[in-house]
């Protein structure tokens, strides 16, 4: 069992942070890599990119949004409870290099994944501008951490309750217009990554995105996570999860993420009824 040592609720309880004892994974994990978690014997294997790792404490941190039955099961775990299985670190780490001026764009829980990457990009000597967004102020996560991890933090909300009123792409446009940018890293909902990539293509700025398709094993064995990159099929679990944002077929990815949509909705609603939620 992998014990939960810290648990926090964010974004009005829709987003949960778990710090989990997993010393062997913590020792090896690098920014950008993911783990697969399974809470119970009957549970599903859920891939989540790590939000942090602490080799000294022997822990990894995940931050997830409750979207279905499996994440609802995760939510019910308290401090001292544990996950039955955690597999990792999986996937290729982020390529960290001093390139100059970097813009990190995050939306929703993507900000959690973006945080260690942002920090690492700053540590290797880049000047990092960060743009993070949420639907509304109360749903914004990791503001202080992202401020510390970057040189310049910009905030957007869809409803204008905090920071710029509008989408991250609008602020990104300003940032790109202002001058020399060498790399953009965008992590968030698929439509956000799609539109960020569309914009950076116009400015000819290299863009990295992190994909989270449906997955079973996470080791290249099932091919469920296949994504089209520049017309070629790749497995996100072993070839990714990070890819050149300008090459990704986002429309295909969005459709494939809906493969079990109806099943999952019914399964989640049934679970919520049983839990009296």
């Amino acid at each position: 069992m992998f014990k939960i040592v810290k648990r926090e609720e964010m974004a009005e309880g829709t987003v949960i942070l778990n710090e989990i004892e997993a010393p062997l994974i913590a020792r090896k994990a690098k920014p950008g890599q993911f783990v697969i978690l399974k809470a119970t014997e009957e549970g599903e294997r859920i891939p989540l990119t790590m939000a942090d790792t602490d080799n000294e404490r022997g822990t990894i941190t995940i931050i997830y949004m409750v979207v279905g039955k499996s994440t609802a099961t995760f939510r019910d775990l308290k401090i001292g409870d544990g996950y039955q299985d955690i597999i990792g670190p999986l996937g290729k780490p982020t390529h960290l290099e001093k390139v100059g001026n970097v813009v990190c764009v995050g939306g929703g829980t993507g900000v959690a994944v973006l945080h260690p990457i942002t920090r690492a990009l700053k540590e290797v000597g880049n000047h990092v501008t960060c743009i993070i967004g949420a639907r509304t102020k109360s749903l914004l996560i990791l503001e202080d951490q992202m401020r510390a991890a970057s040189h310049d933090l910009r905030i957007c909300t869809d409803d204008g309750s905090y920071g710029h009123h509008g989408f991250v792409t609008e602020v990104l446009k300003e940032v790109l217009e202002a001058g020399d940018k060498h790399l953009v890293v965008a992590i968030g909902p698929v439509p956000m990554m799609k539109f960020v990539s569309k914009m950076t293509a116009e400015y000819n700025v290299k863009t990295i995105v992190s994909l989270n398709p449906i997955m079973v094993d996470g080791t290249g064995m099932c091919g469920g996570c296949r994504v089209s990159i520049g017309g070629e099929t790749k497995f996100a679990c072993v070839d990714g999860p990070e890819f050149d944002g300008h090459q990704v077929d986002y429309d295909e990815l969005m459709k494939r993420l809906q493969a079990y949509g109806e099943d999952e909705k019914a399964h989640y609603e049934h679970h919520c009824r049983l839990q009296g939620r």
Binding site: S70, I87, G88, L90, T219, A259
Partner: protein
């Protein structure tokens, strides 16, 4: 002698009781039900107890077949399983999934003038009897050698290596990437052919013998092979299988509803998606299913689709019936269950709707031309023969390749051009000191028993190394 021969002629091969096709095609329970002790003893009497047994020569792990059968005949079931264990640590598995017709039973002298002795069914009987009613008494183990062996992959070859070496007194740790041990026996072969409880029981037996098991351990990620040596392991065996799914590489393959057989079977078998929503992992329940390929994995996929409630299941294969690589018994079982075969047919492209979901596949009719490099007649498309098959689920079961995850992170390991590990066929030794390999990661996709045979040879070689050096 004449009298003995006469007795044998009188006893017909004892039929294996089975679930009826119309019942079993909708459930996941095991198809064959197992022999009764009486039937097993009767079947055992059919064995001629040959002085130079051809059956043993036909067995990749060299089981002393006449001996274990003689014990069954005498009603000494305990001694029978003990005899099996000396050569085979997974008899309950082998009795079920070995291609006996081309190995032991294919060489059986009784089979020359009638039906061969049901060696597989008897092996299964001895193992099941021990598991369900046996004494649980463990076979003798040699005293500890103080040597540590890491076995990477807990499929058939890894389990064999672990079983052999633990009995020789070595300290063995099995590393498994999944959350459950067994490899292909658990994620690949369906419950109705090999109940998972049997695999876990066989692994449990190894654990009782002292084998340590580390699940969730993706070697190459959480620990490298070199780090295993740093941690004090004296030898490493790589039996990671051929776990890279091959696709057809035709347009539309990324539509929702097109799955690799690996994914389809892993969801069903390992994740128990057939019991969804009791288990959380979903599985597409196609009504009109097409399976591509004609090996055992294709048969398993087709029969699984039928059990998951399909109205129609079609197996599409580009060659003819003669070239189908699946075992005859599997093809027979599939046909009994209502699976249809579309032979000399090759897919051209998948068709989808606006939501990206599969609605059909366009195929071409083929004819057989000249033999190709495999010696089989090459299928050639018939011009203008395109036709469309409607379907809402397609399972691609056209083979597997070498998964590079471990091999790419291990220095000093020579690979062939297809990415498989180069290992000495007699010893399993790789080009890296202290490292052996065997099973599908060396040979490409093969059978459980061939992987076990490779494991046996490697275990002998590892034991020699640990005793006398490289």
């Amino acid at each position: 002698m004449a009298e003995k021969g006469a007795t044998q002629e009188k006893i017909p091969r004892q039929p294996m009781p089975e679930q009826k096709p119309e019942i079993r095609r909708r459930n996941f329970d095991e198809v064959p039900l197992g022999l009764s002790p009486e039937a097993a003893k009767l079947e055992a009497k059919r064995c001629l107890q040959c002085k130079k047994p051809a059956c043993v020569a036909g067995c990749p792990v060299g089981v002393d077949i006449p001996k274990f059968i003689y014990c069954i005949r005498e009603g000494d079931f305990k001694q029978s399983i003990r005899s099996l264990w000396t050569r085979n640590s997974l008899p309950a598995v082998c009795g079920r999934v070995c291609p006996q017709e081309s190995q032991c039973e294919g060489s059986c002298i009784v089979g020359k003038s009638g039906k061969p002795v049901a060696i597989g069914n008897l092996e299964r009987f001895a193992a099941d009897y021990e598991r369900l009613q046996g004494t649980g008494e463990l076979p003798p183990k040699q005293k500890p050698t103080g040597k540590k062996v890491a076995v990477v992959g807990s499929g058939p070859s890894g389990l064999t290596v672990a079983g052999d070496l633990v009995l020789k007194g070595h300290d063995v740790t099995l590393f498994e990437a999944f959350h459950k041990p067994g490899g292909v026996l658990v994620y690949g072969i369906p419950e109705f052919r090999l109940p998972k409880d049997i695999v876990f029981s066989e692994v449990g037996f190894l654990e009782k013998l002292g084998v340590k098991l580390e699940v969730n351990a993706v070697v190459g990620r959480i620990v490298s092979v070199d780090e295993l040596f740093e941690q004090g392991f004296d030898a490493v065996y790589l039996g990671v299988g051929a776990g890279l799914p091959q696709f057809l590489n035709i347009p539309g393959e990324n539509l929702i509803g097109v799955l690799s057989a690996n994914e389809y079977l892993t969801r069903t078998n390992l994740m128990k998606a057939y019991r969804y929503p009791e288990y959380d992992t979903p599985i597409p329940r196609g009504k009109d299913v097409v399976v591509f390929g004609a090996g055992n994995v294709a048969m398993d996929s087709a029969r699984t689709a039928m059990r998951l409630g399909a109205d129609r299941v079609r197996v599409v294969y580009r060659r003819s019936r003669q070239e189908m690589p699946a075992r005859a018994a599997e093809i027979h079982h599939a046909e009994e269950e209502g699976i249809e075969f579309f032979l000399l047919t090759s897919p051209v492209r998948f068709l989808g709707n606006e939501k990206g979901r599969l609605i059909g596949v366009e195929c071409l009719k083929m004819e057989l031309g000249e033999p190709d490099e495999s010696g089989r007649r090459r299928p050639v498309p018939i011009e203008g023969s395109e036709f469309q098959m409607d379907c809402d689920l397609a399972v691609v079961a056209v083979g597997a390749g070498a998964n590079p995850l471990l091999t790419q992170t291990t220095e000093g390991l020579q690979l062939n051009k297809r990415g498989y590990i180069v290992a000495d066929p007699e010893t399993g030794k790789t080009t890296k000191k202290g490292v052996w390999a065997g099973g599908d990661i060396v040979t490409g996709s093969a059978t459980v028993i061939l992987a076990m045979g490779a494991g046996r040879k490697a275990a002998d070689s590892i034991h020699k190394y640990l005793t006398w050096g490289w």
